[in-house]
């Protein structure tokens, strides 16, 4: 019986030193997939490899064989000792594997819960595999369901809402004040790491101009070059304050660099346009009293941190709701999976009935020959309709069966009762039709997409 299996390693189970050794870069992904699909234990495969996880999703006949084989595969491919690998690996089958993937796609398994990139990465992993012909009906359905789960979690919960890093929170605040930032200038005071990080986020918002100033001019030049801004002499802060709307200050200075009176002085020149100052330095670079000026929004590192922790708290409050959505999607997928088990029997049964109908029509041919063409067609319709009606309830019931045992039993009974063995379907069943009644053997065919 073919089923779903997942072998993986992620940031919960392994340190980065191990994860980085197992990483499949995009370049050798096709090679990986090609190597994987030649392995006898698995017929469909998708490889999800991001900085936090490496996961192999396969369709296999026997999960424990698949586990052994995929472990070997990982250790061979990356040249890692299997003994060092095994304790960090997790292997999940069937609904647990589906649940895991859906949680991943929803961002529930991410380092920062709800981060948005992962859904795109899952999609990319699937597209790569599907373009190489490594996916079939099982993984196709599985991944499409996971996209649906990811999208639902994003649109129905606030799991991905709110900035969860200080530099992003700063950008979000700037946008709340100024709307689009394309018409605004940014001043970076200090050329440290925090300035750089915030500048990168601001750059992504397409701010008009980034000006960098630093006590040591060389550092300002270096950072300006790196982020595509302009370096300005330290002495010109006051002039720049009059034209810039967003100020990020992060120096190591023990004394305040921007005083209230300085800010007050530029407000007139600014014609009272709002000024957003982020003081992410400790000790603070900007006199706190500057924040009481009407059009000045002054945020220090604690204020930003408070926003971030509030957002994180809000995200974790949404986890429960997201898990419910994931559970719903998993159960939908499992229902589909179960209904698939009965498909060969249903097809065989239908073919059997159709065969009988055709045979009877043929046998009665001499009697029907005298009918007008219209009446003849009606006989055709009526007989088809009767067959449909007779089969509709059994078909539904078969598809609703949830237990593999029962499907098995029903299959056997129907086989006996209707002599389905003589029906062609069960003998030349395509690979995709999954589980068969015991009388026919599953034959393995190359993967189809």
């Amino acid at each position: 019986m073919s089923q779903l299996f997942l072998l993986g390693i992620n940031h919960h189970t392994a340190p980065v030193s191990l994860r980085e050794r197992l990483d499949f870069s995009k370049r050798d992904l096709s090679e990986t997939l090609a190597a994987l699909s030649t392995r006898p234990a698995c017929s469909e495969a998708v490889v999800l490899s991001t900085c936090n996880r490496v996961e192999l999703y396969v369709r296999c006949d026997n999960p424990s064989h698949a586990r052994a084989e995929l472990t070997n595969f990982l250790s061979d491919f990356h040249g890692v000792d299997p003994a060092a690998l095994t304790p960090h690996l997790y292997g999940l089958a069937s609904n647990e594997a589906a649940q895991h993937l859906f949680r991943v796609a929803a961002g529930l398994d991410s380092l920062v819960v709800g981060e948005p990139q992962i859904l795109g990465q899952v999609k990319e992993a699937y597209t790569t595999a599907s373009e190489l012909g490594c996916t079939g009906s099982l993984l196709n359905k599985l991944f499409h369901c996971s996209f649906a789960a990811g999208k639902r979690v994003r649109s129905e919960t606030e799991l991905g809402e709110g900035a969860v890093s200080v530099s992003y929170a700063a950008v979000a605040l700037a946008r709340k004040i100024f709307g689009s930032l394309t018409e605004h200038d940014v001043l970076l005071v200090g050329a440290g790491e925090m300035s750089e990080l915030t500048a990168v986020h601001l750059r992504a918002q397409q701010v008009r101009r980034i000006v960098v100033t630093n006590r040591t001019a060389a550092h300002a030049d270096a950072l300006a070059g790196k982020i595509g801004g302009e370096a300005l002499p330290w002495s010109e802060i006051q002039q720049v304050l009059a034209t810039t709307d967003v100020v990020v200050s992060a120096t190591g200075s023990p004394e305040p660099i921007i005083t209230r009176s300085q800010v007050e002085a530029v407000m007139r020149a600014r014609r009272n346009r709002p000024l957003f100052i982020m003081d992410i330095a400790v000790p603070r670079d900007v006199e706190a009293s500057a924040g009481t000026i009407e059009q000045v929004f002054l945020y220090n590192i604690d204020d930003l941190q408070a926003i971030v922790s509030e957002n994180l708290a809000r995200r974790s409050a949404q986890i429960k709701q997201a898990e419910v959505i994931v559970a719903e999607e998993v159960s939908g997928f499992m229902t589909w999976l179960r209904s698939r088990r009965a498909v060969p029997t249903v097809v065989a049964l239908r073919q059997r009935f159709e065969m009988i109908r055709q045979a009877e029509l043929k046998r009665l041919e001499p009697k029907l020959a005298s009918l007008a063409p219209g009446d003849r067609a009606r006989v055709e319709d009526v007989t088809r309709l009767i067959v449909e009606k007779l089969l509709s309830t059994p078909t539904e019931r078969l598809k609703e069966l949830s237990n593999a045992e029962t499907v098995h039993m029903y299959g056997r009974a129907l086989n006996q009762l209707f002599d389905l063995d003589s029906s062609p379907v069960l003998r030349e069943r395509p690979d995709d039709q999954a589980v068969a009644p015991p009388t026919s053997s599953v034959q393995k065919t190359p993967v189809t997409s």
Partner: protein, 254 residues
């Protein structure tokens, strides 16, 4: 707004339904008397509420910004209570009002007031968001409102449109009053002057909003002060509608 998007849609549907019913009623009154039911404060109030809800629905559908509805819907409901409970008779216009100026005068002013009411609501939301950002305790409004910049632009747009129609309405009213005084002996017409409370307050509104526009363009007023003024201006408009329209005016009460 993700969490309540379904709720938001439902609320919008209710408002649309209510506006349609209101349209139907005003339509019935119009066919009954042969012109828009603008005569009398109560009728005018009803039309004003109707125009405001149309103006609001327009901004909502074009900006896809439902957050203002929380503020504007209760205001409209509160105002509409008066026409609803007063069971007023739809007044047919007296001969003095049978003039093409009448419809132009009243509908310009009502549209101006409707714009000011929208501006007021936007002003309130601006102030709430501003306060939240200043207090550095972002949350409720931060998550629900557009940026200060956008609110400011919307506010100025509503004020500008409102001011334009207010100007038209006042000028038409003035010209028409002069004509009417020459033609009719109705004491209400004769007594009409700038000292009439209703006219006086309309002019006061015009001064307030003109000053706001001027201060914004030439003095360099901030969004904060503009927002505050939008609220003050609308308070004066409401004053004209409610206490003045019902109790104070003696000459302008048609």
């Amino acid at each position: 707004m993700k969490r309540s998007s379904r709720g938001g849609r439902t609320a919008t549907s209710f408002l649309v339904a209510a506006t349609l019913v209101h349209t139907f009623i005003i339509g019935m009154q119009t066919t009954e008397i042969g012109h828009l039911p603008l005569v009398g404060t109560t009728g005018a109030l009803s039309v004003f509420v109707w125009l405001s809800s149309i103006a609001y629905l327009y901004t909502e559908t074009t900006s896809n910004e439902r957050s203002m509805g929380v503020f504007i819907a209760p205001l409209l409901v509160a105002l509409q209570i008066i026409p609803t409970i007063s069971r007023y008779e739809v007044a047919v216009r007296p001969p003095v009002l049978e003039s093409p100026w009448f419809v132009l005068h009243i509908s310009s002013l009502l549209f101006a007031y409707a714009s000011f009411s929208v501006a007021c609501v936007i002003g309130i939301t601006y102030m709430l968001l501003f306060k939240e950002l200043k207090a550095k305790h972002v949350g409720f409004f931060y998550n629900r409102l557009p940026s200060l910049q956008i609110l400011d632009v919307m506010n100025m747009r509503a004020i500008t449109i409102g001011w334009l129609f207010l100007t038209i309405g006042v000028i038409v009213g003035g010209v028409w009053a002069l004509q009417a005084q020459a033609e009719f002996d109705d004491p209400r017409v004769q007594a009409m002057s700038v000292l009439d409370p209703k006219i006086f307050i309309a002019l006061l509104c015009w001064v307030v909003y003109s000053f706001e526009l001027y201060a914004r363009r030439s003095v360099g007023w901030t969004g904060w002060r503009t927002a505050k003024f939008s609220i003050i201006g609308f308070a004066i408009v409401l004053l004209n509608f409610l206490p003045v329209g019902y109790f104070l005016t003696r000459t302008h009460n048609f």
